[in-house]
Subunit: 171 residues, 4 copies
């Protein structure tokens, strides 16, 4: 299967700047993560679109992500998008709005704790997204923390530190 | 979703005995692995069935695994079996033979390199199996290395260190 | 040997707050670090004095650290102090000023990258300090990055991200 | 300081062969370990002498190690030897026998659990040896598990999985 892997930044890709003493989006570490996985089900096209904390994304960014997905849609069997969690749902909804129907599975994912940390959830979430994109029907999804949810209607659950379906309390 | 997680041992669970200076199946480390994952899609029933290097499994072991799956089938939405790779395919085929049709997804997985190692594939494979079991149709599968294959007809590819469909060369 | 291990916070002990999305001094993770080491040369007395980013330390804090060391001096064979690097040298000089001569080795250490990060230098530095304190003559030292330097006259080298002797360029 | 780092193999350098399903001495992983440390106190000369499980060492090997140390003695400030623990003490005693007096610190170290394992003691022991060699007086030592012991008279304590002084029970 041909899968496009689009990176946009987010917590998952934050690295530590020991001089400024902060975690920030400086370089893409997705390729380091990929090198640690054995990927025999898919062939990946890497698209390094942007590297932003999603709190700094604006409407133009969401449009650009949606349009990039639209361009990749026709010659791939699926698309995985790595995204900051704070505005991941905005991009998910925007993809649906601008593309109408999608013909392949489109899976957004991210992390609550950067890959740079020992106790990161980045590896789990990327692993899941790269499998989910092979098994799902066409549609737009978030895959994270061992759960796949379909857009529209997905929101970030700030208290639980994960995603859930709107107006249904997470268990 | 209610998932039964059956452990039978295998390379994935081998730990290092510093006195005997060998890797061996002594304790189940599946619970350590689970504690490092955020599992929000499933509720797990742990079944610690045996802890064997699968090279030491005989027909009775394969029957016991198949019958255990048969017993768990009715009151779970899916079953994940952690198994040594050398005889994983034997258990996969045996489950199909003894159960006939299965009504939930049954996903076997394992590892080429124990969880105890830095460069293990155990975490990737367990993560994938726990997601695949939520997304697949009823059937018996192996999920490993970012690829899901359905029984019957799956064999271990010794040269590649993974699984493949019989008589079709892996790419 | 009886060693007092005094923690004051600093980068080494910062953990990630996934809600505030920052690294901060919240809990002491020194005990987690100690549990991962095999310590057969020393017997440790843990003194959890404070948990501060050293940029927030003031004169009272440096005095408190010096006086705590003074109190531990008589019934221990050595003292290790875990400290933020930004003001580590201030505490080192203050200990010398307030105690005059010291009768046991006093070793300060810290980290440029928190223990919570994959690529931390915390484990290396703590390991070194716990050995150096057994081998050094009485005096006040910083032990970090495979190098031991003696106070007075040690300063942080901001460009290199380590410590050096004042007015001598690091190589 | 100029330090020679001599590798001879041992558990510390064992890697996992996923086809033979055993841990074995195949490649030197010391350089991987060194790359993960910040070494600002020493300049290292790497000497890859052999890569043997020390249980397979014979008298010729111990002589070769002693003579190699003898050759490096004059133009280095210290020597660190990475060695299998089972016959580490034999090499330590042999160095003393063949060299008589030594003019620099010679520090042997190893590991009970290979670097390839998550819970290895290899990094701790190498870190300690690379610091101890800077702080010790001339002599032959083993540095391991936060304790430095001087030859002659050091033996492996099989029950405790570490080293101790002969005829004195470890505490």
């Amino acid at each position: 299967m041909k899968i496009a892997l689009v990176s946009t930044g987010g917590t998952i890709e934050k690295t530590y700047d020991q001089y400024a003493q902060v975690l920030a989006n400086r370089v893409s570490i997705l390729d380091v993560m990929l090198a640690a996985l054995e990927l025999r089900g898919i062939e990946i096209t890497r698209v390094a679109l942007m590297n932003k904390d999603s709190l700094e994304m604006d409407d133009n960014d969401h449009d650009l992500i949606a349009d990039t997905v639209g361009g990749l849609n026709s010659d791939h069997d699926g698309i995985v998008i790595v995204h900051g969690t704070d505005r991941l749902a905005n991009s998910g909804e925007r993809i649906l709005e601008r593309l109408g129907t999608v013909t392949v599975p489109i899976v957004l994912t991210g992390a609550m704790r950067p890959y740079a940390l020992r106790n990161t959830d980045a590896t789990q979430n990327l692993t899941e997204a790269l499998l989910a994109v092979q098994l799902l029907q066409p549609g737009v999804y978030v895959s994270m923390h061992n759960r796949v949810l379909q857009f529209p209607g997905v929101i970030k659950d700030e208290d639980e530190g994960t995603f859930r379906i709107e107006s249904i309390s997470s268990s």
